[in-house]
């Protein structure tokens, strides 16, 4: 079991550029979650999918952020026109039955 895979591990973008972050959940897990981690805000929920369907996006910034899960083996988080305040570690987690979430190593996004 490889665990949750996130790519890239590090991404540096210039202000105004687009960033796409990838997550491969644990095989067989039906739920995928996205969180953002910063020193100031801590760990914040962004959005999640169950059986590829969007269930709760209450934590997603209304502008520039979007997430998709086109198939059961991967999900993407896209940030358009990145801003310095988007700099954070973006964590993906997957869950078999939503009682336990298994986290990936995260993607560290730096916006210059």
């Amino acid at each position: 079991n490889a665990g949750v895979i996130q790519t890239p591990r590090h991404k540096v973008t210039g202000k105004g550029q687009e960033a796409t972050l990838w997550c491969e959940p644990i095989s067989g897990h039906s739920a995928v979650f996205w969180y953002r981690q910063t020193i100031v805000q801590g760990l914040e929920f962004l959005t999640y999918f169950r059986n590829q369907a969007p269930i709760d996006d209450s934590g997603m910034p209304k502008e520039r952020f979007s997430a998709q899960m086109p198939n059961q083996s991967h999900s993407t988080l896209k940030i358009q026109s990145t801003q310095p305040q988007d700099s954070a570690v973006y964590l993906c987690a997957s869950s078999l039955d939503e009682s336990e979430q298994y986290f990936g190593p995260g993607t560290r996004l730096t916006v210059l």
């Binding site: 914040e44 999640y48 009682s99 979430q101 986290f103 190593p105």
Partner: protein
């Protein structure tokens, strides 16, 4: 809305001493509480979980008891080790809710 409070930002202890990290929560749902541990540059890993009132749960020498009467789920260990140095997050999942609500985290630093 739901919230989790961890009162200590940093706890510094000498190896071999006991530790208690505080966690209190607010929710209108039936709570499911978790403790996650995050070592430097690693993914958060599940340490403990509980939804049963007044029942102690243990793992890897750590233990916690969910007390619904006081809305608390404090993490304890009787003798800390150098390898316990990490960031500890308390998290809440309400009944039939998928997302985790995290506390701000407590950094535990163990000295020789």
């Amino acid at each position: 809305g739901d919230s989790v409070t961890q009162t200590e930002g940093l706890v510094t202890l000498t190896k071999g001493l006991p530790v208690m990290l505080n966690c209190t929560y607010q929710t209108t749902y039936s709570p499911f509480l978790f403790w996650y541990v995050q070592h430097l540059n690693e993914a958060p890993k599940l340490l403990l979980k509980s939804s049963t009132d007044n029942k102690r749960t243990e793992h890897q020498g750590f233990y916690a008891t969910l007390h619904k009467s006081s809305s608390s789920f404090h993490l304890q260990k009787s003798s800390v080790q150098l390898s316990d140095s990490a960031l500890y997050f308390c998290a809440l999942k309400g009944y039939n809710q998928g997302k985790l609500i995290f506390g701000q985290g407590t950094k535990l630093s163990i000295k020789p």
